[in-house]
Symmetry: C2
Subunit: 365 residues, 2 copies
């Protein structure tokens, strides 16, 4: 049989079976003009009988058309935030028939570089990137060769590509501002990894808000150290054992919020807590009145839109979209999980609507 090495029939096999030339078979199957209906029918039948599946790789090689694949490179595909991003990206990409190739770099710049290389060799048309920390200037050469790159959630170091981020300074500032407004004066900040841009930005906002409120920035109330990852619960517990303990806490990083909640609960403390993105069903938690700052869906959608515009040929300088943070009061969201899980695309309306939601109940003392 004229089967290819991979065991699949080729267009040549179909053509032979239908008794036509290669080109006619190609035309018939691609629905091009200029094929007699009877001929086309014979070709389609041969194709069906053989179980023919056009080789998309060969096709794009021959035609020079783009591969219609987009790479999505994130820190971890299993992370809830990233999963939400992925879902949105897929949905926006869907109508365009673009395939999604995913890979996780685990915040390791070297792994990111290797992933980018692999995806480029596979000739993805575009890369959607939640950048690992560190220099990514090697992307410049790829962009010059036509690769579309859009960064998401964090800026891109060393290249000027399109980015979509959230104003995390404002996110930190507002959370603290609301705590202050509720009467808190001792506000803690939690973040294991200050190398993460989002954490660093939220910390800046935290400091700005304290300063604006003329509150002292007590370093004892700030946990911002990679090393703490070893025993985070002990670190949080130590912080809470401060002689003048915090009455509110801002948790700026994935998992830090959960750790904080566990410790707070175990010690039987009553703190107001603000967390970011990674908390599920906050209204069902032991201590509901959290602030939630979320944005996976908005970020994913906005970044994918930029990407599609570039694929459609948009030129011009890199665009940097900064989205306002969204605040969701977990207590207010009771029975309305969609507020947490599905932020509307019209983020301005949302942030305006939710920004006035009541927050903390004031110091527990």
């Amino acid at each position: 049989m004229g089967r290819t090495r991979t065991g699949r029939p080729t267009l040549a096999d179909v053509a032979a079976r239908a008794g036509v030339s290669l080109k006619t078979a190609s035309r018939a199957l691609n629905g091009e003009y200029g094929v007699a209906e009877e001929t086309a029918r014979r070709v389609r039948e041969a194709s069906r009988e053989l179980g023919f599946r056009p080789n998309h790789l060969a096709r794009s090689l021959a035609s020079g058309r783009p591969s219609a694949a987009v790479g999505l490179v994130v820190s971890s595909v299993s992370d809830h935030f990233m999963a939400a991003v992925t879902g949105t990206v897929e949905r926006v990409l869907g109508p365009r028939d673009l395939q999604l190739v995913t890979a996780s770099h685990g915040d390791d710049p070297d792994r990111q570089r290797r992933i980018v290389r692999t995806l480029v060799e596979r000739r993805v048309d575009a890369l959607l990137l939640v950048p690992a920390p560190g220099d990514a200037s090697y992307l410049a050469a790829e962009i010059e060769h036509g690769l579309v790159v859009v960064a998401l959630d964090r800026p891109l170091d060393g290249v000027d590509a399109d980015t979509v981020t959230v104003d995390n300074v404002a996110a930190g500032r507002t959370a603290v501002g609301r705590f202050v407004g509720a009467g808190h004066r001792r506000i803690a900040f939690l973040g294991w990894d200050p190398a993460l841009w989002t954490v660093a930005q939220r910390h800046v906002g935290y400091l700005e808000a304290l300063d604006a409120a003329r509150l002292p920035a007590d370093p004892d109330l700030v946990l911002l150290d990679y090393a703490l990852r070893d025993d985070p619960e002990a670190a949080v517990e130590a912080l809470l054992s401060h002689p003048d303990p915090p009455t509110a806490m801002l948790s700026a990083q994935h998992s830090a919020g959960r750790t904080a909640m566990r410790v707070i609960r175990r010690l039987g403390r009553r703190l107001d807590l603000a967390v970011y993105d990674d908390i599920h069903d906050p209204d069902l938690l032991v201590r509901p009145p959290f602030v939630l700052v979320s944005g996976a869906q908005r970020l994913g959608a906005a970044a994918t839109e930029l990407l599609l515009e570039r694929l459609d040929g948009a030129r011009g300088p890199a665009r940097h979209v900064v989205l306002p943070p969204v605040y969701v009061d977990a207590a207010a969201a009771d029975g309305h999980e969609q507020l947490v899980r599905h932020e509307p695309t019209d983020h301005h309306a949302v942030s305006a609507a939710r920004a006035v939601a009541p927050l903390a109940t004031g110091p527990a003392s």
Copy 2:
């Protein structure tokens, strides 16, 4: 310039620049034997200067080697369970340098069929599938043509492919059995979509356990209807308003558990609840003593192992791995989230260890 249409330099460009033949350039860059070191050096330099990236598509076309890509087709990539599966699959695939192409069918059989077709045309070597409901016999032709297919979490209708599932009948049976052991006699069952295999299986287990305990199977205590999705909270509330209300509840489906918790909390009821897979941080919830049946990581890992074996040439009849369910007591998991999120690979040890964990506290009345 000798650039390709896509704006990228080709191997021919590199060869020309290095002043060698195409074949020598190929050999040098692929690290094959029989190239003078000086020649190889010149080629590598030319490659670097040009920013050459070998076209993997052309390479696998020419060499006839597999494309080194695996398709992961799930109901929804943003779903927590699926995200956990994806993460595990990626991790197991990683060392083999297999790329992951993901797509969601949303439990729509037609979409699944279209996705499979697209992935086949892209010549993925294998498909990891969380099957949508309905017939999938069309996969037989692809399998015959060399596609490796492994189903995951649900069986595959119409084809005999490798599958990895959890014994959901046992999962339903055991949850109910434990409720019964704790003194419950009125036990409710929740599941919106009986077309989902996992839900149907858990329902079977539920009925078996009631029967074994000689408890009547009261249809009033079973919510198993697609239509209820419209207003699930009202449906759950109605169930709880039964004159002889349930004291325990088994929630067999994604999101049903959350809904149940919301309603239970809103009504101020005290029910023991068993949920599956989709609950985060159960130890932090208002009413901690849940049973949790989980398995994303085990399922993903086991399925990927089967897939790799097939890619390595394993022949023989389809294998059907059925994993025992894992029970995690949320109260017992307090401070030990890994019990919930990372089930060990040695599931036998786990299920044995956790099966004896204390469950419910008995009827609240």
